[in-house]
Symmetry: C2
Subunit: 570 residues, 2 copies
């Protein structure tokens, strides 16, 4: 552990890396300008002042350190090659950085390793004629991308039609450019992969939302993604990162196409904006993981799992260069919000990353609701249009319902009323709906199948007679469904009970006594109480009161005699 | 936010405070010796070198800062009084620190505010005669406690019998001492309270385990504590802290007596070892809260709630002064373990706090199991006897069962087998027990009523005939109970079904179809899936496969005709 790590670059990524190193007593020296963000949280005066592209400065840093790494890929890899030959350790390997820093080379390398990604064509002069030939292969629209020095969307130009060709050709004049086939994605995903001496591990699959080509929001885990696709994204990220030499964390950005196919967008050989959430959400953050990987320290795979869903929102310099203080004021008052400011001084550059906030909650629906006020401030502050990716249901101040209470007919409502009263008493947010398995089957199917993604955790369904609603609901969701048999006009409720309880193997309904919605509500509370100690406490309190009531009655019975007791009871 | 905070003392508490301040871009200057732990993570050279008891150095610090605070109460309050009069802001108030730093004054102050705590008597000379008079009031055993400069149990002497009086009198010779009535506690609790300009907030109630008078472990939340007592402890802490002037975080240590009465043990006017867990477990840590409180920044109360249960273990210098490296090596490999080292260099002082680890998990039972290997290393390393507070069930490598499957008779086992197979397939750890409501009522009651505290989250109970087991289980726990009606020798299972499902209001049993243990297991999985996305994914996968199987059969039926299909099926 008695090692010194040198970092090329001391921005926010270097700063959060230094924070992780501080916690492990590992010395970090930064090569960057005076008072760079990372230098502000390191109490040493041995940093190197200079550019992380300056070969002399890199040599100076190497002389003081056991291991070198970088928080940015736009560095001088020639000097790293030379230093490596003389025994200096740089992670990940200089060849990895050299390949990745030229995006076309990066993609050729990935392609040769059999990784799925959009086709790309290297351009020579970028003349209009050459671009026309590209259009013959890719059709419109396609992308022009700068091969080097491009990040946060800088250096990307969409060519939507032949009208854009002149502009495209101008774009190619002062830089090396390649063309890429248009990827019609429905979502952007990212995975932080960790390459160690033993293999490649990965953090969960997250969803990134960009605005003006800059990362705005990260949803961890990705929303509305099947488990299979989330797993596939992690596998793809690990496979892609395995194709490179060296150790450390890699940020892997992906496109999710309409048909659920995944394409690699690009890879960063370092911690990444899409992995900030790991500081709060995972026992080991991406920065801790990077440190451990480059120093061959162990990384228990389960330490990369999430404690709680999280939403990360970047704090950017506004379009008008105004202060970020209004945002910080809002963030300080916002519940369950952790704030990270990067020490960059007053915000003067539009879009500059000044900090970020991470909101964590027990469910993604709650996290989305909690962060919404800050997204609103962000949008106002930035003068940008709100990102369409933010679901409308997260807007507004109402609590996210945790329980859906559904019935096939309003005639079931009187049966449900005592149970709803319990939910009110317990202050458990719920939604009540009339949706019939027989008369509105399509509404029922749609409501139930999307319930989990809106934050619903338990469904209570009441039905009488043929009583199909609870069972059909169970067929459309993986949430627990509680069935309340309602006594219909004949058969005394036996028909409803049998219809609800006698479900076939594979689709369970938790059935309670005929007409007993109180027990349905209490069972729902017990289910929430498995992970919510507030609710569990309320269930215990309810039982304690019931216990006292019976003891009180017994006491009164003992004090008088059974006849007077009966008379008093009336 | 453009404020500079000066801290008297730069040990681990100052260091973790500085970490929180760094994240909010708030400048911190430290008064302590060169290269003190807190100075190592602050990139400024404007710290003051000197002792936090040196009035000259305190004045120097005050001149550079907007607000002063302290990470330790053993400071020069006279100079703070003087500085306050000339407009310097020190939080919490100098009078608060002055009162608290003399433990007898602290307790008199609390007593006069109506706070429950053990009786104490101030001593003059501490002569044997005087101690005898104390014994007449308090009886044996009682405690002698140094009024000042006592922490981590230093300066405490138990007087067990009159044989200890001579020794006790010697103890009083070179210090000011008071005597305190013995508090026969069953557990030690702690609450971090936050005094702001508007009132007092609090973090959850935690349990502390001391060894040789030094804090070893913190369990957050406290184990085996009723919600009522946990709430009472938070209220007591808030009331106690409200009795002091000034703003900031206070560590409130309490005794829990056998009759569940709470007594304040002592209060620290600063962040505290028992609040380290908040870094991982809460959206706002105790350090962040202290910073916000002294700067009048907002603290949303729900940000003091826990994300996940946590166990904190201190890393102490060993009895032999050996290296802490073996412990760190073990901690790096331990799952879900966050490590904090304090930059104190090689461990040379026995019992010195060198760092800590925090393990978080979805349940306390899991967190206890995860941290056990590190407690074992700690015990080996420290040469101490293991703390008795560590429950034996946490030992060993087996997974903590999440589901208890219980039956009244082994004749129910064949009915349960298909459900148990599902739990095996889903890799959900469970325990199976035969425990009859009628033949072993006391075993059943004891098992079920302690199930939640051992990490069980759902109970599946099978029964036939009179079928009381599921309902009786539900009566003894607040966990969800799933009932499986078993078809007994007569009545075709109807008797079992009615006995299980027709529970009275207040005690729900989630009943599934007669004999359908598969649905019981799937329902249990759905319930776990409410908060465990791994299990929810498995439920979805199961449904997907069942869907495919039916489609496949339909396809085969369409390909042939119904007669050949029936023949093939046999």
């Amino acid at each position: 552990m008695n090692k010194t790590v040198g970092v090329l670059g001391g921005g926010q990524l270097g700063r959060m890396f230094a924070e992780a190193a501080n916690r492990l007593n590992i010395k970090v020296l930064i090569l960057d300008k005076e008072n760079a963000p990372a230098k502000q949280i390191l109490g040493t005066s041995n940093h190197i002042v200079g550019s992380f592209k300056d070969s002399h400065a890199i040599r100076q840093l190497a002389a003081e350190c056991d291991v070198l790494t970088a928080e940015i890929e736009h560095i001088d890899t020639l000097v790293l090659e030379e230093l490596t030959q003389s025994g200096v350790i740089f992670e990940p390997h200089w060849r990895t950085v050299a390949t990745i820093q030229d995006k076309f080379d990066q993609k050729q390398h990935l392609k040769s390793a059999g990784i799925a990604l959009a086709d790309s064509i290297s351009l020579d002069s970028g003349s209009v004629d050459e671009l026309k030939r590209v259009a013959e292969v890719f059709d419109f629209p396609f992308m022009l991308k700068s091969r080097r020095e491009a990040y946060d969307g800088r250096g990307n130009l969409p060519i939507m039609s032949k009208d854009d060709l002149d502009h495209g050709s101008d774009f190619c004049k002062d830089r090396k450019v390649y063309a890429e086939r248009w990827a019609p994605f429905k979502a952007e995903l990212a995975v932080m992969a960790v390459k160690t001496k033993d293999g490649v591990l990965s953090f969960p699959t997250v969803e990134t939302v960009h605005e003006n080509s800059i990362c705005k929001l990260v949803y961890a885990p990705a929303r509305n993604l099947s488990r299979a696709t989330a797993d596939k994204a992690q596998q793809l990220a690990r496979k892609a990162v395995a194709a490179f030499e060296g150790k450390g964390v890699f940020g892997v950005e992906m496109f999710l196409l309409e048909n659920d196919q995944l394409l690699i967008n690009e890879i960063a050989p370092r911690p990444h904006n899409s992995g900030h959430y790991t500081i709060e959400s995972c026992p080991i953050s991406q920065y801790d993981a990077h440190l451990r990987a480059i120093l061959d320290l162990p990384i228990p795979p389960s330490s990369l799992e999430m404690r709680e869903p999280a939403v990360m929102l970047n704090i950017l310099g506004s379009a008008t260069g105004g202060s970020i203080d209004p945002f910080i004021t809002a963030a300080l008052s916002n519940p369950r919000t952790s704030i990270h400011l990067y020490g960059k001084g007053p915000a003067t550059t539009p879009g500059r990353k000044m900090g970020h906030v991470t909101v964590t909650a027990e469910t993604m629906a709650e996290a989305e609701q909690l962060i919404q006020p800050l997204i609103d401030v962000f949008d106002k502050h930035s003068g940008r249009k709100p990102a369409s990716a933010t679901p409308s249901r997260a807007k507004g101040g109402k609590e996210v319902p945790q329980i859906a209470v559904i019935m096939g007919s309003d005639s079931d409502l009187p049966t449900l009323a005592p149970g709803l009263t319990i939910l009110d008493t317990f202050a458990i947010p719920y939604t009540v709906r009339i949706t019939s398995a027989h008369r509105t089957p399509e509404v029922m199917a749609s409501f139930v199948s999307t319930a989990a993604s809106t934050g619903i955790r338990v469904i209570i369904a009441a039905a009488g007679g043929a009583a199909h609603l609870p069972g059909m609901a169970a067929a459309y969701t993986s949430l627990p469904v509680i069935g309340v048999p309602v006594k219909a006009s004949s058969l005394d409720g036996q028909d409803s009970l049998y219809s609800i309880v006698q479900m076939p193997r594979g689709v369970p309904v938790a059935t309670v006594a005929i007409g007993n919605s109180v027990n349905a509500a209490l069972l729902a509370a017990r289910i929430l109480g498995v992970s919510d100690l507030r609710v569990r406490g309320l269930v215990e309190e309810y039982a304690r009161k019931a216990n006292e009531e019976v003891r009180e009655k017994d006491k009164r019975l003992r004090e008088g005699n059974w006849k007077s007791y009966m008379e008093k009871k009336g």
